[in-house]
Amino acid sequence: MSRRRVDSQGSLGPDDEVMPYSDDETDDELDPASDAETEAPPGAPHPPLEPKTSEASWKVKANDRAYHHLPEFQRKVFLCIKKSKYSGNAIKTYKYNVLTFLPLNLFEQFKRAANLYFLGLLILQVIPQISTLPWYTTLVPLVLVLSITAMKDLVDDLARHRMDKEINNRKCEVLLDGRFQESKWRHIQVGDVVRLKKNDFIPADILLLSSSNPNSLCYVETAELDGETNLKFKMGLRVTDERLQEESQLARFDALIECEEPNNRLDKFTGTMLWRRERYPLDLDNMLLRGCKIRNTDFCHGLVIFAGADTKIMRNGGKTRFKRTKIDELMNYMVYTIFVLLILVAAGLAIGHTFWYEEIGSKAWYLYDGKDEDASYRGFLSFWGYIIVLNTMVPISLYVSVEVIRLGQSKFINWDLQMYFPEKDTPAKARTTTLNEQLGQIEYIFSDKTGTLTQNIMAFKKCTISGQTYGDPTTAEGVSLDRGRPVDFSWNRYADRKFQFMDHSLVALIRSRKDKDALEFFKLLSLCHTVMVEQKEDDLVYQAASPDEGALVTAARNFGYVFLSRTQDTITIREMDQETTYEMLALLDFNSDRKRMSIILRAPDGRIRLYCKGADTVIYERLSPNSRHKQSTQDALDRFANETLRTLCLCYRDVSRDEYDAWARKHKDASVTMTDREAALDRVYEQIENNLMLLGATAIEDKLQDGVPETIAKLAKADIKIWVLTGDKKETAENIGFSCELLTDDMQIHYGEDINEKLTVRQANRRNEPLSSGRNRKKAPEPFFPQPGKNALIITGGWLNEILYEKKKKRRRLRLRRLGKRAPPNSPQDGQPQDDWEKEMRQIDFVDMACECEAVICCRVTPKQKANVVSLVKKYKKAVTLSIGDGANDVNMIKTADIGVGISGQEGMQAVMSSDYAFAQFRYLQRLLLVHGRWSYIRMCKFLRYFFYKNFAFTLVHFWYSFFSGYSSQVAYEDWFITIYNVLYSSLPVLLVGLLDQDVNDKLSLKFPKLYLPGQQGLLFNYKNFFISLFHGIFTSLIIFFIPYGAFLQTMGQDGEAPSDYQSFAVVTASSLVITVNLQISLDTSYWTFVNCFAVLGSIAIYFGIMFDIHSAGIHVIFPSIFTFTGAASNALRQPYLWLTIILTVGISLLPVICIQFLHKTIWPSVGDKVQRHRKKYEMEEEEKKKPPAFQRGQRSRRSAYAFSHSRGYADLISSGRSIRRRPAARGGPQDSIREVPHREAENI
């Protein structure tokens, strides 16, 4: 099939290559805004934050505790009690203490409507006029429910107490009275100077002053902060490094730090230090953040800037958005429905009572109660009486049971061995326990690409040097082979053993040292990077900011260019067998706008050279006209791209001394600007990165994770739509789309321009329609793609903004702000929205269109846009969405979606920390959804249906009875039975069904993805099911009342005694009820384990046991007025007649249900029924055939280009302004070398 391809880089459309804008909003900004955003501008960027004066309002004075208690830093806490705005370092994550636990916890629990309702009921029951049930009927279940919840809270809080205590009592050295003294963490205050030792946790957010390492470097492990286990390094200011090494120097330190207010940005810090009348800029590289660990540094000194609750880690925690499931909402509405029903029924019965009293009650002398109340007032009292009697319609233990079930489901997810990733020893983790059944209802999955679909493991596969491509299996002589063996790197004692390369000719070429370009190529790879190196027992361990870089440096290392070490301003490499130290003059770091990084080095022979590597598009723009091999390299790049390899271009430039000096001055100026330093630096970088000479290009393989295509296929079969949202380039994204079989060759792919056109036409049509009919009419929209066949959308962030009017809106808003007035209405032609309604319609159109497609890939989207796409679908499709991602850039979308899944993989823990579920591999998603999600959904639905049913069946018996008891709110059962019914007699079996039930086992669930559909469509629990449960309950209650009624009408007992007394009646109805509901749950149980068996039989046995106890002589003698049913059970159940009544009642209650179920399953069998019916057969099949054949990745005829999965490197640390001034310290230099560093700080900043 032919595929149309629109070149969207045309003159009119947005640039596909660029990310629409950089967004660096954090949770703080996201949280309040995100909900508003759903109606307002998805993606409208916040205006760039100007440095405000308030940003520097946080003042910290070193070694001056009193300073921070000055009145100007006080803030009102309570009435007129004022407190310093600087928090102490003690943290308090616990919620309660001994005194406040009870009141606070109760208060919190009573914030729940259900609990409050029962409290209100309890109060009603105490009022004697309307009390129809003794108070304990409500109190006992309520106390039970409250105490279960309270227990859970208590256990949680005790754990927090323990943690807090442990943390607050950690030891740390603080400079007090001129010396370092050991102190507890909680005594640390802002402005204190602390000394930290190796492997210490950092107690607060601390400004690094000096350390035992050269240049006050300090290595930290940030695992607790972001989960990344590689070491990062921080560096003290030069001035503090030099002047604050000794205790006495530190004691005299009296700088004033001015910086931003506490916030939650882990990636940003700006401030200045004022010391000895000089100002020094501070940034994140000087900061040691709480939660990190000191590594490889004997000791370091720091100044506490933020303590306790002000620290960035504390600011980050705890602010999780509360997510609710669809079922939750539905359940609440149903509870409200029941409540309304309750009021109606009570009102009806109250009216009944009024009339009855008028007609009969008032005349019956024996009922005289000494009160002179008229009938309508009695009716009013009776209303409240019935509210109390019928209160059990609203299921009191519903919420607590639902929580228990969800907790159990979560545990099962945690325990699942098939979602455990043995290589990394990571089990799956349900981080929230409230969303499980939602997993069975997912309609849309939004997936990140890097690290989620792909492994984010990069392997250096190929390269092109001077137009010559290397990498295919080739002998040393250059003969191509079909299958080669890996090159033996044993000649290189530094070689990384895991590295594999097939092309022997390249190794031969390098070892021969004939090709200058090839040598330069690998020299560049070993020099131009921000990788950190660590010496671990004779082995070099590289820590790279991105896996691409690591792969490249490792490749260079194996080819004989070994990156050995770096100091702040030198890089030492081993060029074949000779060690060379280069002086690093500047490091021009990568960022997503520049898409390249450069390094300026002075070779030992004094020549200055700039090495640069970057994306082909940016590099080709900057190549020197003299550069050779442009075309051949371009061809190679195309070929690499076809093989889904990620590419980078390498080039260099010789820089003359004068040119460098001139540039260095500009660079220095730029690096000390306070405002928009980064932009200034970018401009300076631009000036030197030109006239580059092309060396070649590298190609790195980005491996797909195991089982990704199969998982996607499975999920697609379950009608789950998968959208890939990635920051990668269009071509890469498209390519991955093909390789994971999201896109197939028979799909028609639509790009931005095409989409825009269609949407504009739709919009124009709508405008042409008469306004009155157009606005509110709901007509079925005609499809966007009328022609048959599959469609796919590939859209870039830029187009997304264009289509959704985001950019224009922003521009317009800015213009409005500038003009200070409303802009004139736009003419309809220019593609502008006329108003918010049009914009909304456009968004709906887009979502509709996207949902018509089999696959949607959004590339070049920012984290914020990812979240916006998710919320668009959530909003307009009312669909349940799931986001899955692994990186910090996925956090927004993970938080926005109904369910967020984090891949605990390579890129760190930030995604996991904000996710609801976390596991190690994308392929576990199918098990999570198709097995756990499905089960949880089915179980929860079964549970809820039954739960409503059993309460109706239980409560409505009172309703029928009232017709025969003068509407006097007489209950049909014993009070104690009412008290215990929900807690003991009927709860355990259904709880077990909610925990253990499975209609088909996990293998079949996975084998038949169609089984997932009922969940998506919400078929198992909705208003229809609710009313079916309601009617089922009404039916059962009718039977339970009227069969005994008929039996009791005229009867007498075996021995002539009249058993038609009230107490016998209550025993018969209660016994019928307990047996019926327990057998009913047995009918609903499709997975009978011995526990279920025990529970059902146990519930019935407990019922009889407790009843006989309560009706026994002994307990009556002790409490004659509380247990009044003495002998009722034994007398009633002695009668065979009553047993026959019970059997008949149970039979009539259950037989029709069985009959209807059977007929329904026979006439309209669901997929589940069919699978269940042939379960045995399928299980046999499953046994026979083992694992399906391994996935074959076909060769695609697609062009792909490089993707730079690169975040900012360590360059800031390594270089930034300072490193230019530094002379090298000898490699691995001993401690004493620090002092020898020439003091040139005078020209400092």
């Binding site: 020893d425 089990p427 007489q970 005229q1050 009646f1065 003698v1117 002998g1127 069985i1154 179920q1157 379960r1175």
Partner: protein, 338 residues
């Protein structure tokens, strides 16, 4: 990455954690449901027949004696102003009324199950606690204290409204009246008589009631209900106990006496009988009815067609439904064989 030792986080591989507990997964398959319905249906029909036949064999004689109609023998007594009125109810049996015969009184449209009526009693008092003799429970209002503020014992509406008609049965043998002996022992539940209701352990019983008054509606105090038999006096008086066990429904019967002695051990022989009723209990105000019932019992108790018929109907329905299901199954079975 590393060796097997790094599996600290590995979940346990147990049947429970992996949700592989051995289980039985029953299905509502045709092979179970249809024969099941047939069997249940047949069983129900069997029970139904047994119940129905048994019930048919029970003899019941029921007479309303409220005296609403003019020709009713108790019409004259239905006027509330007449005191100590006695009326005679004549009836004849044309065949032996098999014994043991039970004699009931019945009330209609009488709401003993009215909630406030039902709770208007003091169970502690009734179990013989003397504290509650002097200060009866709040629930007994308005029969807690009398107008002179003396405690009422037994207090409360239920006790107050004790049924006080009395009956005597005569067989007319050759024109002479022959008293049919009534057995009033053990007509109440054993637990009521021995556990739930107790007289205070004070002799004479009368002393326990010092300072209290009898219920307003009663003609004599509790300790005089049956002075001849201490085991039938006070709170453990059988008639009192029967009354205190409230009925579930507004139409009810209560056992008054058994006929088990003397010539009537085998039942009431055919002949003419006269029931002498001391008519005290007013029911016409609230449109109530009073009746007397003679009945004998079977293993299943008294006569009641309801249960037998219900069993028969349900049993037949089961059989019918099993046929319907069989047809439906046969019709729809084949499509899902694919």
């Amino acid at each position: 990455m590393k060796e097997q030792q790094e599996t600290a986080n590995r979940p346990d591989n147990t049947a429970f954690t992996q949700q592989r507990l051995p289980a039985w997964q029953p299905m509502l398959s045709a092979g179970i449901v249809i024969p099941g319905f047939v069997i249940i249906g047949l069983a129900f029909i069997g029970i139904g027949i047994a119940l129905f036949v048994t019930s048919q064999n029970i003899q019941v004689l029921e007479r309303d004696y409220t005296g609403v109609e003019n020709n009713s023998p108790c019409f004259k007594c239905s006027d509330p102003s007449t005191k100590n009125c006695v009326c005679k109810l004549d009836f004849s049996l044309d065949k032996l009324f098999e014994g043991p015969v039970f004699f009931y009184y019945g009330l209609s449209n009488y709401f003993q199950n009215y909630r406030k009526y039902g709770v208007s009693r003091d169970d502690r008092q009734l179990s013989g606690r003397l504290d509650n003799f002097q200060s009866p429970d709040e629930g007994c209002v308005p029969y807690q204290y009398d107008a002179n503020n003396k405690p009422i014992v037994p207090c409360g509406s239920v006790a107050n409204s004790l049924f006080n008609d009395t009956f005597k049965l005569y067989q007319i043998v050759n024109g002479a009246r022959k008293l049919v002996p009534f057995d009033g022992k053990g007509i109440a539940w054993w637990t009521d008589h021995n556990v739930k209701y107790r007289n205070p352990s004070i002799t004479p019983l009368k002393n326990a009631f010092n300072g209290t008054v009898k219920p307003t509606f009663w003609s004599k105090p509790a300790y005089e209900l049956d002075p001849s038999d201490p085991a039938n006096n006070g709170f453990v008086n059988q008639d009192f106990l029967v009354w205190m066990r409230r009925a579930a429904l507004p139409d009810f019967r209560k056992l008054y006496r058994r006929i088990t002695e003397g010539d009537y051990k085998n039942g009431l022989p055919a002949g003419n009988y006269s029931l002498e009723i001391a008519y005290n209990y007013p029911v016409l105000d609230f449109d109530g009815r009073k009746k007397v019932v003679f009945s004998n019992v079977s293993w299943m108790g008294g006569k009641n067609q309801f249960l037998g018929i219900a069993y028969l109907v349900i049993g037949s329905l089961c059989v019918v439904m099993s046929i319907v299901m069989l047809i439906v199954y046969a019709k729809f079975k084949f499509p899902d064989e694919e």
